[in-house]
């Protein structure tokens, strides 16, 4: 008999079955790689065809925002900094290895990064975590970044 699913995981899996997530997945914008609750790994497709792994920690989902860091999908480990997305403006701010030792993305939808940034609720309301939309919102924010004109491929490429 399988272990009962916790309420937060149940909501997470319902969001994965929802239209927002599946529409983006069908369009090739992102894909689910694995779930080992409370962690989940996704791949997000960039403009140059590169896929960036993201490993989320989703405790108390969706009431509490998740936090995510770049993840090497082949090595199943944090992504080496020379493989991080490069850019000139918005990209290096969001993907900053100096922020929290690279453990999370510097984005308003991230649980750790939003702490101490009350100004972001006013300045970037569209990027703040929305529990009604859920994981597709965070994935969309990352997908938009790596498909923007600021995106310049991988750092070492």
């Amino acid at each position: 008999m399988s272990a009962p699913v916790s309420p937060d995981e149940a909501v997470f899996r319902a969001h994965l079955a929802g239209g927002r997530f599946r529409s983006g997945a069908a369009a090739g914008r992102w894909r689910l790689v694995a779930v080992a609750w409370p962690h989940a790994v996704f791949g997000v497709r960039a403009a140059d065809g590169a896929e960036y792994g993201l490993r989320f920690e989703c405790s108390d989902y969706p009431r509490t925002p998740p936090t995510a860091g770049l993840w090497d999908l082949e090595l199943n480990a944090p992504l080496a900094v020379n493989k991080w997305p490069a850019g000139r403006d918005r990209i290096p701010l969001a993907f900053n290895p100096g922020w929290k030792n690279g453990a999370c993305l510097y984005l308003p939808c991230d649980r750790i990064s939003i702490e101490g940034h009350a100004n972001w609720y006013q300045q970037h309301p569209s990027l703040v975590w929305d529990p009604a939309i859920g994981i597709a919102h965070y994935l969309r924010v990352v997908h938009d970044l790596v498909n923007s004109s600021d995106y310049g491929g991988r750092r070492a490429a």
Binding site: R20, G24, Q123, S126, S148
Partner: protein, 169 residues
Amino acid sequence: MKSIDVFLQGHGLADIAVLAAKPDDTLAEIVSKANLLGPKEARLLFLEDIDGPIDDHAVVEELLPLPTDGEPIGPLRLHVARCRHVEVAVRFNGEAAKRRFTPSATVERVRRWAVRRAFHLPPRDAAEHVLQIQGTSIRPDRDVHIGTLTQGQACAIAFDLVPCQRVEG
């Protein structure tokens, strides 16, 4: 027989509805599975980004690209609306542009028209601007159909074209 995903959007649907279809299902059979409000007779069905309603007797597999072999591959992206068109207005830098779109036009389709045809932004700038619903902070995702964004009985929606901002501080 393989199941085909149908993604249905429409005014009053909170999310993109995901429906499972058989290749020989009609659109009427598919749409009947969704919890839609309003009179059935007033509903119009559209294919994503295609102008003009389609007959609800149309068969799912005949609306998908021809497969090289085997079963047709989805998803099929549909829109259900009562409006035949949506009047779209976009403001940018003190200028305004208007155009009618099919209600099944995606936000990305409208954004591209705005940056390229209406306001003639250079490619690099064009990629750094998004649509925000006027009077709100809502920036709908690229695959959202504009027919889902209309309010009340109006077949219209107004956007501002705004730059993507740096997240700092």
